[in-house]
Symmetry: C2
Subunit: 134 residues, 2 copies
């Protein structure tokens, strides 16, 4: 790995599963788009390629964001928290939506008075997008 | 619990430690201030009191943010992600700093070219604040 990444790689504290919490924010709007996990290998791949790459806990595999959907995330900035167990990436989101449901953000449900209020419009119809792939 | 909170409480998926990832954003600037965890009891306490209350993994105890430092966080909005395993709170941060190091955000270290760039100024001197309490 290039020395440029060393301070970050040295500062990360992985949990007992070898994972670090990763928060993803739109670089232009500061909207929080999603939260996922990286392990050491996918963090290095993300830094090397500039493309957000996670560890999928449900599938137990490397998850290059956008490989299936085309909606890749390109790294603009990376920060780390004070105790090193969480990363904050600012990204450019391709296709205007990070969530597999078609919304810009995975956090599109806001609690109102006894019900959820949906934030934003659907950018794509997930049935259409994922049907084409099956 | 008031029925107003039911949709959120029903939608949360706790991990095998009984915890849910909690992301905290400043309601005015959208700056991500910190990331911590809640369990069911501290989530309910947060919703009931309007004051951010976490489960401290290191101390294994309820952590009412600001109880020691005076820097409380007041809930303005709460969102949940698509699979229910992460919460996003927008808060009003008392005292201008969420981090115990004195910075506004726990994510105050940004990776530059081979070194960390510190984001923002120290709002308080942690030695002074926490010395008074010991």
């Amino acid at each position: 790995m290039p020395d440029a990444f060393k301070p970050l790689l040295d500062a990360v504290t992985y949990d007992d599963r070898g994972l670090v919490v990763t928060i993803v924010q739109d670089h232009a709007t500061n909207e929080v788009l999603m939260q996922a996990y990286m392990n050491e290998a996918t963090l290095k791949q993300t830094l090397r390629t500039g493309r957000m790459t996670y560890w999928s806990r449900s599938r137990q595999e490397v998850w290059v964001k956008g490989a299936t959907s085309g909606r890749a995330q390109h790294v603009r900035e990376v920060r780390i928290d004070c105790d090193g167990d969480a990363l904050l990436f600012k990204v450019r989101q391709e296709g205007g939506a990070a969530c597999h449901t078609g919304y810009e953000s995975c956090f599109h449900r806001m609690l109102g008075d006894g019900r959820f209020i949906v934030i934003g419009e659907r950018v794509f119809d997930p049935d259409e997008v994922y049907k084409r792939l099956n």
